[in-house]
C-alpha cells in the first residue's frame, strides 16, 4: 500500500531556481533548514527556560538573601536583589509554558519531525513546504510574544502554566493577570496554529509520500512516533485553543463561561453561572495528551538510537508500535487524573484512576523492550546512546511514581506537592530532554555535515545524569512530607524547616547541572563551524537519511529516490558481512524478511 509519489517535477525545479540568502536561511521552505530553525529557536527558548528554573531554585534554597543574579536579571522585580513574590509565580508560569510548549513540543517535534520524516520515508520534502515555513514563523512569532511578556508593566502571566481561572481571568486577582496574561493567551493561540499546521503536514506526508517499498510496517519507529504524536496534537490542541478563546471572552467581553459568584477587592462581579471546573476539563483534555506529545517523539528517537548503537534489531517492533498506539489512545481518556480533588464527582475519579493506571502497561512493555534490545548487543557508547539509556532510566524512575499519583486515594495527599514536581520532571521533562539531546548528538552530522565532539558529549551526559537524579530524587521525599509546590518561600511554615537543607542540596545539583549545559552549547555552536567533517553514514545505520549526500541538496537525493526493500532494523543479521544492512539493499536470494 505504499504510495508512489515521485516528485520529478519538483526535483527539476529544485535545480533551476536560484536561492538567495533570504529564501535559503530565513523564509526557507526546505524541511532540513526549517528543522534547523526550529532547533536553534528551541535551544534559545530552552536556555531562557532553564535559567528561570535556576532562579526559582535559588529563591527556594536561600529565600531571604539578596542575590546578584536576581538583581542583574530581574531588575525592578528584585529590589535590593531580593526576589518579589509576584515574579516568582511568573517564573513558575513562564518556565512551565516555555519548557513544555516551546522547547519540548516545538523544539523537539518541530526539529526532528521536520528533519526525519521526509528523509526516513524517502520523500523530496514535506507535503507542503509553504505551510511548513508558515508553521515555523508562527512559532517564532509566538516565542517572541511569550518572551516579550516579561517587559510589560505589571509582569508576565503568573497563574501557573495551567492558567486556571478565575486567577487568570481577573486582572485584580494578580498583577500578571492583566496585559501579561493577554500576551500569554495570544502567544499560545498563535503557537497552537503553528503546531496544527506542522502536525497536519507531518500526517499528510507520512501517509502520502512514502517511497516505493516503504510500507507502514517498514517505517522506522521514529516515524511511527512522530506520526502518532501529530495525530494526538491534531485531536487535542484545538480543545486548548477553544479554552483559550473562551477565557479571552470571559476576560474581555464579559461572558461567564468559567466564572461565577465572585467577590474580590471589595466588590461583587457580575459573572454568573460559569464554572472553573469546565476550564480544567478543557485544559487537561489537551494537557494530558501534551505529556505524550512531548514524550513519544523522544521515545521514537530513542528506539532508533538504541537499535543502531546496540547493533541489534529493536526488540518487539510490533509491540513497540502497538504500545505507541495504545498510549496515544489512552492518553486522551485520562485527563481527569489531574482533577481528582477539583470538586468533580468522585465517581469520575474512580473511572480516571482505572484508565490512568492502564497506561502503565504499554509503558512497561516499552521499557522492557528497550532493556531486551540491549541484551547481547554490541553497544557503541556514543553520546546519543548514553542519553538514550539515560532516558530509559529516568522514564522508569519517573514513570513508576505515576502509580501513586494516578491512584485517586493516594493523590489526595500528594496532589500539588513537590512529589508531583519530581514525578513529571523525571518522566516527561528530563526524559524528553534526554531524547532531544540524543537526537541532536545522533543527527547533528545529518543536519550540519559535521560531528559533535564526543568527549564534551560524555562530560555533558554524565554530569547531567548525576545532577538530574540529584535534583529530582530527593524532591519526592519533600513532597511526601507535604510541602506544596509554587510556594515563594517556606519560611512561614516552621513545620517544613527540616526540609530546608534538602532544598539547598537540590539547588546545588540544579546549579551544577544547569551550568554544565554550557558544555553542550559550546559544543553545539562551535561544531557547526569547526566540528570534524562527517562521513555519509557515521553510525553505520540502516535508515534512508544516511543514503543522502552529506552536503544538503534541495530534494534530498540528487538522483532518483531509492526504493526500500526491508525494515529498518536488520542489524547484525546472519548471512551478511557487515553488521548493518541498509533499507535500500534488496533481499538476497532465499533471505527472509522477518515476520515483524
Amino acid at each position: 500500500m505504499s504510495a508512489h509519489v515521485e516528485a520529478h517535477a519538483h526535483d527539476d525545479h529544485g535545480h533551476h531556481h536560484k536561492e538567495t540568502f533570504v529564501t535559503k536561511y530565513i523564509f526557507s521552505q526546505d524541511h532540513k533548514m526549517i528543522a534547523k530553525q526550529y532547533l536553534i529557536t528551541g535551544t534559545i527558548m530552552g536556555v531562557i527556560g532553564v535559567m528561570m528554573s535556576l532562579m526559582m531554585r535559588m529563591q527556594i534554597a536561600w529565600p531571604e538573601e539578596p542575590n546578584v543574579i536576581f538583581r542583574a536579571l530581574l531588575g525592578k522585580w528584585a529590589p535590593e536583589g531580593v526576589m518579589d513574590a509576584d515574579i516568582y509565580l511568573a517564573l513558575v508560569t513562564i518556565h512551565g509554558t516555555i519548557m513544555v510548549f516551546f522547547v519540548l513540543t516545538a523544539g523537539l517535534s518541530g526539529t526532528f519531525s521536520n528533519l526525519l520524516i521526509p528523509l526516513q520515508i524517502g520523500a523530496r520534502d514535506m507535503a507542503s513546504g509553504f505551510l511548513n515555513m508558515i508553521s515555523y514563523w508562527l512559532f517564532f512569532i509566538s516565542s517572541v510574544i511569550m518572551v516579550s511578556s516579561f517587559f510589560v508593566e505589571a509582569g508576565p502571566a503568573a497563574a501557573g502554566w495551567t492558567i486556571y481561572p478565575p486567577l487568570s481571568a481577573l486582572p485584580m486577582a494578580q498583577g500578571g493577570s492583566g496585559m501579561g496574561m493577554t500576551l500569554w493567551l495570544v502567544s499560545m493561540a498563535i503557537f497552537i496554529a503553528s503546531s496544527l499546521l506542522g502536525s497536519l503536514n507531518y500526517v499528510v506526508t507520512v501517509i502520502n509520500l512514502r517511497t516505493k517499498g516503504m510500507s507502514m510496517t517498514r517505517l522506522p519507529l521514529t516515524i511511527w512516533a512522530f506520526f502518532i504524536t501529530a495525530v494526538i496534537g491534531i485531536i487535542s490542541f484545538p480543545v486548548l485553543l477553544s479554552a483559550a478563546l473562551l477565557l479571552i471572552m470571559d476576560r474581555s467581553f464579559g461572558t461567564s463561561f468559567f466564572l461565577s459568584d465572585i467577590f474580590i477587592q471589595g466588590e461583587v462581579l457580575h459573572y454568573q453561572g460559569g464554572s472553573p471546573v469546565l476550564y480544567e476539563h478543557l485544559f487537561w483534555f489537551l494537557g494530558h495528551p501534551e505529556v505524550y506529545i512531548v514524550l513519544l517523539p523522544a521515545l521514537g528517537i530513542t528506539s532508533e538510537i538504541i537499535a543502531t548503537n546496540s547493533r541489534k534489531p529493536i526488540f518487539g517492533y510490533r509491540a513497540m508500535v502497538a504500545s505507541i498506539l495504545a498510549i496515544a489512545f489512552l492518553s486522551t481518556i485520562v485527563w481527569g487524573h489531574h482533577m481528582f480533588i477539583s470538586g468533580m464527582n468522585p465517581f469520575l475519579g474512580s473511572v480516571f484512576t482505572f484508565t490512568t493506571l492502564l497506561i502503565a502497561i504499554p509503558s512497561a512493555v516499552k521499557a522492557f523492550n528497550y532493556i531486551t534490545t540491549l541484551w547481547k548487543g554490541n553497544l557503541q557508547m556514543n553520546p546519543a546512546m548514553l542519553f538514550s539509556i539515560g532516558l530509559v532510566s529516568t522514564f522508569i524512575t519517573g514513570g513508576l511514581t505515576g502509580i501513586i499519583l494516578g491512584d485517586s486515594a493516594l493523590d489526595i495527599n500528594v496532589h500539588d506537592t513537590y512529589f508531583v514536581v519530581a514525578h513529571f520532571h523525571l518522566v516527561m521533562g528530563i526524559s524528553a530532554l534526554y531524547g532531544m539531546f540524543a537526537g541532536i548528538y545522533h543527527w547533528f552530522p545529518k543536519m550540519f555535515g559535521r560531528m559533535l565532539n564526543k568527549n564534551l558529549g560524555y562530560v555533558h551526559f554524565w554530569v547531567t545524569a548525576v545532577c538530574a537524579y540529584g535534583v529530582f530524587f530527593p524532591m519526592h521525599f519533600i513532597g511526601m512530607a507535604g510541602l506544596p509546590r509554587r510556594y515563594y518561600t517556606n519560611s512561614n511554615f516552621p513545620l517544613f524547616d527540616d526540609l530546608a537543607n534538602v532544598n539547598v542540596v537540590i539547588t546545588v545539583f540544579a546549579l551544577i547541572g544547569g551550568a554544565f549545559q554550557i558544555v553542550f552549547l559550546y559544543n553545539f555552536f562551535s561544531s557547526i563551524f569547526y566540528g570534524k567533517k562527517a562521513t555519509q553514514n557515521p553510525w553505520r545505520s540502516n535508515t534512508l537519511e544516511w543514503t543522502t549526500p552529506v552536503k544538503h541538496v534541495h530534494g534530498n537525493w540528487p538522483g532518483e529516490i531509492p526504493h526500500v526493500h526491508r525494515w529498518a532494523y536488520d542489524y547484525s543479521k546472519p548471512g551478511h558481512d557487515e553488521d548493518f544492512v541498509s533499507q535500500i539493499i534488496p533481499l538476497k536470494e532465499g533471505e527472509e524478511e522477518l515476520q515483524h
Binding site: 471546573v277 480533588i341 477539583s342 541484551w375 548525576v466 519526592h476 518561600t489 511554615f493 551544577i512 557515521p538
Partner: protein, 356 residues
C-alpha cells in the same frame, strides 16, 4: 557575593574541562578523519564502567533518601480515621515501585556494562519473542489490577460521606489570602450564603443570608477546632479564585471553587496534644528547633530578631496557586477533647450577635 564566587568557580571548572578535552583531542591525531568522534573500544569500556557506577549512584541516592528523609514524610501518624488505609496503600505502592525500580535499573545498567561494544564482536540478531512480551504485559496487568482495586475501595471509602453517622457540618471559606471556618451552631445546619450578600460595613464577611433562621446561630472563626473522634463534613466555598484546602496530617484535600460548594469529610483521631507527644513528632520537633536555633543565632548576630521556638500544630494550607501571598495562606487546626471543644466554642460569637 557567594553566588558570584560560585559562578566564577564553575566557569573555571568549565574552562579546565575544555582545555583537557582539547589536549585529549590533540593526542589523537592519528585517527582517520571522520571516525574520530565515534565511540571506539576505549570509550565503550570507560562508559560501560561508568554505567555500573551510575547504577551504584542510583542505589546509593535511594538508600540515603530513605534513611535520611524516610521519616520526614507523613507516612506514619495519620491523624484521621481513613488515614491509615491511605498510608497502607501508599506503602504497598512504594514496595511495588521499589522492587520494580531496583530490578529494572539493574538490568538496564548492567546490560549497558556487560554488552559494551568491542570491535569484531557481532550482536545477537534477536528481534522478537511473543512469549516474553506476553509475560511483561500480563505481569503488570495483574499487579495493576490489584493496586486499582485496592485504590478504588480506599477512594470510595473516603469520598462517600456516610450521612448515618451524623457528621458535624463545618464550612471552610477561602479568600485571598486567608481561611475562615463557619460552624453551624446548635441546629447543625449552615445558613444560606452567597458572596453577593457580603456586606463589609455590617461585618457580614462571608455573605450569610441575614434573614435565614439557620444562619443566626452560625459561628465564624479564624481557627479550626475539631472534637476528636467526631466525624466532620467540610463544605467548602471560595469567594475569589481557586484555592485548595490541604490538611496533610489528615490525608485530606479538596479544592475550593468559586460558584460551587465542594465537600470532604473525615474523622480526626488524634488530638493536638497527643500528637505532640508521639515519639516521631517529638523527634521531628526537636530537630526543627535545633535548626531554628542555629538560624536564630546567625540572625541575632546580624542584629535581627531570632526565631521563636516551634511547637507542633495541625495546619490547613492553601495548595492551589492563588496569587501573590499564596505561600502564606494557612489556618491553625486544633483537635481536642469534646469538653475542650465545647468550652472553646462558647467563647465564640454567634453570627446574629457579630453584626454591626
Amino acid at each position: 557575593m557567594t553566588a558570584l564566587l560560585s559562578i566564577l568557580v564553575l566557569v573555571f571548572i568549565l574552562v579546565a574541562i575544555w582545555q583537557m578535552i582539547k589536549i585529549f583531542d590533540l593526542t589523537q591525531g592519528s585517527i582517520p578523519e571522520g571516525t574520530s568522534q565515534i565511540a571506539n573500544d576505549k570509550d565503550n569500556r570507560i562508559n560501560g564502567y561508568l554505567m555500573l557506577g551510575f547504577l551504584a549512584f542510583i542505589y546509593i541516592i535511594t538508600i540515603i533518601c530513605f534513611v535520611k528523609f524516610g521519616d520526614l514524610p507523613l507516612l506514619s501518624n495519620a491523624a484521621s480515621e481513613h488515614g491509615p488505609g491511605v498510608d497502607r496503600l501508599m506503602i504497598i505502592s512504594m514496595i511495588v515501585i521499589f522492587f520494580v525500580q531496583t530490578v529494572t535499573q539493574f538490568l538496564l545498567h548492567y546490560f549497558a556494562y556487560k554488552y559494551k561494544g568491542e570491535k569484531g564482536r557481532k550482536a545477537l540478531f534477536y528481534a522478537d519473542n511473543n512469549k516474553l512480551e506476553a509475560i511483561w504485559t500480563i505481569i503488570p496487568v495483574i499487579v495493576l489490577a490489584g493496586l486499582i482495586i485496592q485504590g478504588l475501595f480506599t477512594w470510595t471509602n473516603i469520598m462517600n460521606v456516610n450521612k448515618d453517622n451524623d457528621p458535624m457540618v463545618i464550612e471552610l471559606y477561602a479568600q485571598q489570602f486567608n481561611w475562615k471556618a463557619r460552624y453551624s451552631g446548635a441546629d447543625n445546619t449552615l445558613g444560606k450564603a452567597n458572596v453577593r450578600l457580603i456586606d463589609i460595613d455590617r461585618a457580614n464577611i462571608l455573605g450569610l443570608d441575614e434573614a435565614d433562621p439557620n444562619a443566626q446561630d452560625d459561628i465564624i472563626t479564624t481557627e479550626l477546632h475539631l472534637p476528636v473522634g467526631k466525624p466532620v463534613l467540610f463544605k467548602m466555598r471560595s469567594q475569589d479564585v481557586l484555592h485548595s484546602a490541604y490538611m496533610p496530617h489528615f490525608r485530606a484535600q479538596m479544592n475550593c471553587v468559586p460558584g460551587m460548594i465542594t465537600q470532604f469529610g473525615f474523622t480526626p483521631t488524634i488530638t493536638t496534644v497527643e500528637m505532640r507527644e508521639t515519639p516521631e513528632m517529638v523527634d521531628k520537633v526537636s530537630n526543627i528547633n535545633k535548626i531554628r536555633l542555629e538560624k536564630s543565632k546567625s540572625l541575632v548576630a546580624k542584629g535581627e530578631e531570632g526565631l521563636e521556638r516551634y511547637d507542633f500544630d495541625y495546619l490547613l494550607l492553601c495548595n492551589k496557586i492563588c496569587g501573590k501571598s499564596h505561600y502564606n495562606m494557612q489556618m491553625k487546626i486544633v483537635v481536642e477533647t469534646q469538653e475542650e471543644y465545647d468550652a472553646w466554642l462558647k467563647t465564640q460569637k454567634a453570627f446574629a450577635n457579630s453584626l454591626n
